[in-house]
């Protein structure tokens, strides 16, 4: 009954590498989101998308980019990984209109370590 799938649970990358985090949802949701979670800072929104090929910056977009070529897939890209990007990354999705359903469905997260 998995609905939002993140491709990796754990990832270790070297400083300067280009990193791709993949997220796929099977609920036909229009909206998709990328968050990072750090102790004491809660969930911080990096980027979101409300339609294919559309993207909007969240609260902390610096150092990240995203791609949404298909409705079900939303990718987060770290162009040149740095140690301060070591974090838990969470993908989420939702319907666009609350009439179809409230709230987000989250994936299980990817714990990224940059060394």
């Amino acid at each position: 009954d998995v609905k939002v799938t993140q491709s990796s649970r754990y990832l270790v990358k070297r400083t300067g590498e280009k990193v791709f985090l993949e997220c796929v949802q099977d609920m036909d949701h229009e909206n998709m989101f990328w968050y990072r979670q750090d102790p004491g800072l809660g969930l911080r929104l990096i980027y979101f998308s409300y339609d294919v090929k559309m993207k909007e910056k969240g609260d902390i977009p610096e150092g990240y980019s995203v791609s949404r070529e298909k409705k079900e897939r939303f990718s987060l890209i770290l162009e040149s990984a740095s140690t301060n990007q070591t974090s838990m990354y969470l993908c989420a999705s939702s319907f666009n209109h609350i009439g179809q359903g409230y709230g987000y469905t989250f994936g299980s997260g990817t714990r990224l370590t940059v060394v």
């Binding site: 939002v4 909206n31 004491g40 800072l41 809660g42 969930l43 979101f48 409300y50 969470l90 989420a92 939702s94 319907f95 666009n96 209109h97 609350i98 409230y102 709230g103 987000y104 469905t105 989250f106 994936g107 299980s108 997260g109």
Partner: protein, 114 residues
């Protein structure tokens, strides 16, 4: 202001006790207030939610109390159990031209001691 302030940051409760987590908001345009529960190694999952035209919602041992005039809402966990140990996030839903966006509190780590 689209912030949601959550307290406390961490909480230790004895088994059988009541856990209380509080949240406050500024933007009166918020129109849905969910709580999410996150276990270690998992993503947050919707636990319970309330609309602002209701003052209280109860689901089993979990109750949301909502005070619209004070712009505050809280989660009460009655008869807390060790299995309730998790991180809890309050949130508020913001509608912008039909697009729903959640604003999250910073989270509360709850530990229920046996």
């Amino acid at each position: 202001q689209q912030q949601v302030k959550q307290s406390p940051q961490s909480l230790i409760v004895q088994k059988g006790g009541i856990s209380i987590i509080n949240c406050a908001y500024e933007n009166t345009a918020f129109d849905y207030f969910p709580w999410y529960q996150q276990f270690p190694g998992k993503g947050p999952a919707l636990l319970i939610a309330i609309r602002p035209d209701v003052s209280e919602k109860k689901e089993g041992r979990f109750t949301i109390s909502f005070n619209k005039s004070a712009k505050q809402f809280s989660l009460h966990i009655m008869d807390s159990q060790p299995g309730d140990s998790a991180t809890y996030f309050c949130a508020a839903l913001f509608m912008n031209t039909g697009f729903q966006k959640l604003v999250f509190g910073t989270g509360t780590r709850l530990l229920v001691s046996p």
